[in-house]
């Protein structure tokens, strides 16, 4: 080892901008902000629900504005692409299924996840009275 090893300067705050893979990693990472936002929104909705009909209706009314429409629409697309679909993509690596000597093919695990997701979404929509 040399006495003065060269340390390549890497920015602590913008390191991911150098490489497409790193950028994608960061886009995946920041989806947790949406998980946080919607969890806390759910908690505040629950608080209004516990407060009675008037408070619940006030909560619903407070959510009705053009900004929230734009925010939810953008959040939905971003979340689907970088959280849900990416989560399904990595599922076979996180939970490989062993069948005797062989492993279940990755694509079957991914397809299974999509199918389960569609069912879950339909059940929620059915319960919510959307369909």
């Amino acid at each position: 080892m040399s006495r003065q090893p060269y340390v390549r300067p890497v920015s602590k705050t913008t390191w991911y901008m150098r490489n497409g893979r790193y950028k994608k990693y960061m886009l995946r990472e920041v989806t947790c902000l949406l998980v946080a936002v919607y969890s806390l929104l759910a908690v505040s909705g629950l608080a209004s629900l516990a407060g009675g009909a008037a408070q619940w209706n006030a909560f619903l009314a407070s959510q009705q504005n053009p900004f929230m429409v734009g925010f939810h629409a953008a959040a939905l697309i971003f979340f689907l692409v970088y959280m849900t679909f990416d989560w399904f993509k990595l599922a076979p690596k996180a939970m490989p299924v062993q069948l005797g000597e062989k492993k279940l093919e990755d694509r079957f695990i991914v397809i299974g996840h999509y199918a389960a997701w569609i069912v879950v979404t339909l059940v929620i929509f059915w319960f919510a009275g959307v369909i």
Binding site: E29, S39, L49, A53, Q63, M68, H72, W117, V120
Partner: protein, 113 residues
């Protein structure tokens, strides 16, 4: 940390991620409908209140909200690190505290409904 403790932490994190991946698109879509002023039948006070009064409904709401909060906190901690914030202890305390407060509030509101 012992292996047993680690697996519990990891298990809750993974469960929260799975719940978020599967359920949150529908949740966001419901919020979008609300924002558009088209509040679906099931989200009118009578129906949603009935759901939250029911024991199974309470369990579903508690599990979904608390695990999502935990998942978000765990990942936010990493995101702070990725954006160059290296005070991990401070960050960890802050994000886990918010998750704990949110979980306690969820339990309290579900209890009072």
């Amino acid at each position: 940390m012992t292996i047993a403790k680690k697996s519990v932490v990891w298990g809750l994190f993974a469960a929260g991620g799975t719940i978020a991946a599967f359920i949150f698109p529908a949740l966001i879509a419901l919020f979008l409908l609300i924002a558009l002023g088209r509040v679906p039948e099931g989200l009118q006070f009578e129906s949603i209140h009935q759901f939250a009064t029911n024991g199974l409904g309470k369990i579903i709401l508690f599990v979904v909200i608390s695990l999502s909060l935990w998942h978000a906190a765990h990942r936010l901690r990493v995101v702070f690190h990725d954006f160059g914030v290296r005070q991990d202890k401070v960050v960890a305390n802050a994000v886990y505290l918010v998750a704990v407060i949110g979980t306690v509030m969820t339990a309290f509101y579900l209890y009072t409904i």
